[in-house]
Structures are given as C-alpha cells and as structure tokens.
C-alpha cells in the first residue's frame, strides 16, 4: 500500500531544507521525454511539403485541432495563449498516462497542480490587463455594486484552487484505489484482472481531466478578456 511520495535527496539551500522528491524527479523525466519528442519532430520535418503525408499529417492535425479547441473555448484573444496551453496539455496528459508505465504521476502531488492552477490565475490577470486595459479590468471587480468586491475576489481566487484540487483528487484517488486492489488481490491475479481498472482510472480519467483542465482555464481566460 505504498502510494506515498518518497523523498530521494536532500538539498540544503540557505539553511532551508529542500527535499528532491519523487515528483520532481518524475517531472524531469517527463520534460526530457517531451523535449526529445519535440526535437525528433523538428528533425523529421526539416523540410515540410505542401501536401502533407503520414507523420507530418498527424502533427499538423494535432496542432490544428488544438487551435480550433482553443478558439472555441476562449474566443478571439485566446489564440495568444495557445502555445502555453499546448505544452500544459501535453505535460498533464503524459504525466497522467505515466501511471501505466509505473511512475508515480507528478500530477498526483498537489504541488504540481497548484503550480499549474496558479499559473492559470496569473495568466487570467495578464490576459485581462492586456486585452482589456488595466483600469477597465480592475474596475470589473467592482461590478455590479462596489460591495461585491470581496465576493468577486474570492470567486476569482477559488478558481485556481478548484482547478488544482480537481486534477489532484482525480489522479490521487485513481492511484489509491488501484493500489488497494493490488494489495487485496493474490499475486497470480495481479497481472490481468486490474486491466479494466487501469483503463478507466488511467486512460479515461487521465485524458478527461486534461481536457477539463485546459477547457476550464481557457474559458476563464476568455471570460477575463471578453469585451462586454
């Protein structure tokens, strides 16, 4: 029943203990994998044809579908953030699916999802200020009546918290349930019987939660920079 985050290495920085945990190491591994994939794609598509075939077609279809998704969720101004959300989408997807190959997914730690959620929060502020003007965006917190300011601020702050806890809770609960089932089953049955569980908790919930995270973040950004 081992689903704790194991601490791997202790680093002492300015008198503060800094544990390099399994999460951070797994994040580095996923980063290396994704950057290797990007370099591979770039290498293979050094010369891009006008009429795409095979591999180039797949990559182009992915990116075009993602741009359509971004545009439908966040409106016209959202295309500026499509690069960021493409990376976040790939990162969360690969990290959720890495549970299939034996890693403890970095998104099963609240640290990662909180980082992503607060990144979305700051991006919302930036998008509102850039595409709507600083004064108008800050004034919108006082709408409709000026007493609503605390409520608006709390509503705005609750968004990254709920985003992060949604992703964290889904992945962690999948991990815990699969670990419990593995503990209860005898050794011989551990190879084939939990496959449906893996399909549901790893593949389906993993993919669904990445789509939900990106769609909700984009709709918050679209709401922040929408002209009334």
């Amino acid at each position: 029943m081992d689903f704790n985050i194991s601490n791997i290495w202790l680093v002492e920085l300015f008198g503060v203990e800094f544990w390099i945990t399994q999460t951070i190491v797994n994040t580095w591994i996923i980063m290396v994998f994704l950057i290797g994939f990007a370099v591979f794609v770039r290498f293979k598509l050094r010369k891009m044809d006008d009429v795409p075939t095979g591999f180039q077609n797949v990559i182009e279809a992915m990116i075009e579908a993602f741009e359509g998704f971004v545009k439908s969720m966040s409106g016209e101004h959202g295309k500026y953030f499509a690069g960021w959300f493409f990376t976040v989408f790939l990162f969360i997807l690969v990290s959720n699916l890495s549970a299939l190959v034996g890693f403890r997914p970095p998104t099963a730690d609240w640290v990662t999802t909180a980082a992503l959620g607060f990144a979305t929060f700051f991006l919302t502020l930036y998008a509102g200020m850039r595409f709507r003007g600083i004064g108008r965006y800050l004034k919108s917190f006082f709408e409709p009546v000026w007493v609503f300011f605390p409520l608006n601020v709390m509503g705005e702050l609750s968004r990254p918290i709920s985003l992060s806890f949604r992703l964290f809770g889904n992945i962690l609960s999948g991990l815990v349930l699969i670990a419990m089932v593995y503990t209860l089953l005898p050794f011989a049955l551990r190879f084939l019987l939990p496959i449906p569980l893996h399909i549901f908790f790893d593949l389906f919930v993993g993919a669904l939660q990445t789509i939900i995270f990106c769609a909700l973040s984009l709709s918050y950004i679209g709401a922040a920079c929408a002209e009334e």
Partner: protein
C-alpha cells in the same frame, strides 16, 4: 477507552461522513446526463457537440465529490495529526 483507538475510530467515522458528498454529486451528474439526452433527442445532428460539452460538465460537477474523496483518503491513510500524536506520545 484508549485515546489512540478513539482517535483512529473518529478518523474513520469522519472519513465515512466525508464521503456523503457522493449523494449530491451523483444526483447532479444524473441531471446533467438527462439534460444531455434530451438535447440530443431534440436535435440529433448536434450529438457530437452535446456529448463533448456533457463530458466537460460532468468533470466539473464531480469536483465536490472528489474533494470529499480526497479528505477521506487523507483521514484514513495519511493522517498527519495521528503521526504527530504518535511521535509526541512516544
């Protein structure tokens, strides 16, 4: 009664109460599914769009149930207060 077993028992009971979140979650998700089925029945050519919207909305509505599940898991398996109590009480 032994204080430690009392604490353990209380932890497990509160975990069970935390999971009562699931009632509201299930009811809400059922209503979302019913609305989606009705929308598809009314206009069959919007089935793809309705289906993807429904999946996203189901994910959002499940949030509250997931909060309860996470709290229950933390209470049962990884209770930091019990670990601290054990450390302090020797």
């Amino acid at each position: 009664m032994d204080p430690l077993s009392f604490v353990f028992g209380a932890a497990q009971l509160s975990a069970a109460i935390a999971l009562l979140n699931g009632i509201a979650t299930t009811v809400g998700q059922g209503k979302i599914g019913a609305a989606a089925i009705e929308a598809i029945a009314r206009q069959p050519e919007s089935a793809g769009s309705v289906r993807s919207t429904m999946l996203i909305t189901l994910g959002v509505a499940e949030t509250s149930g997931i909060y309860g599940l996470v709290i229950a898991l933390l209470l049962l398996f990884q209770n930091p207060l019990i670990a601290l109590y054990l450390q302090l009480a020797g």
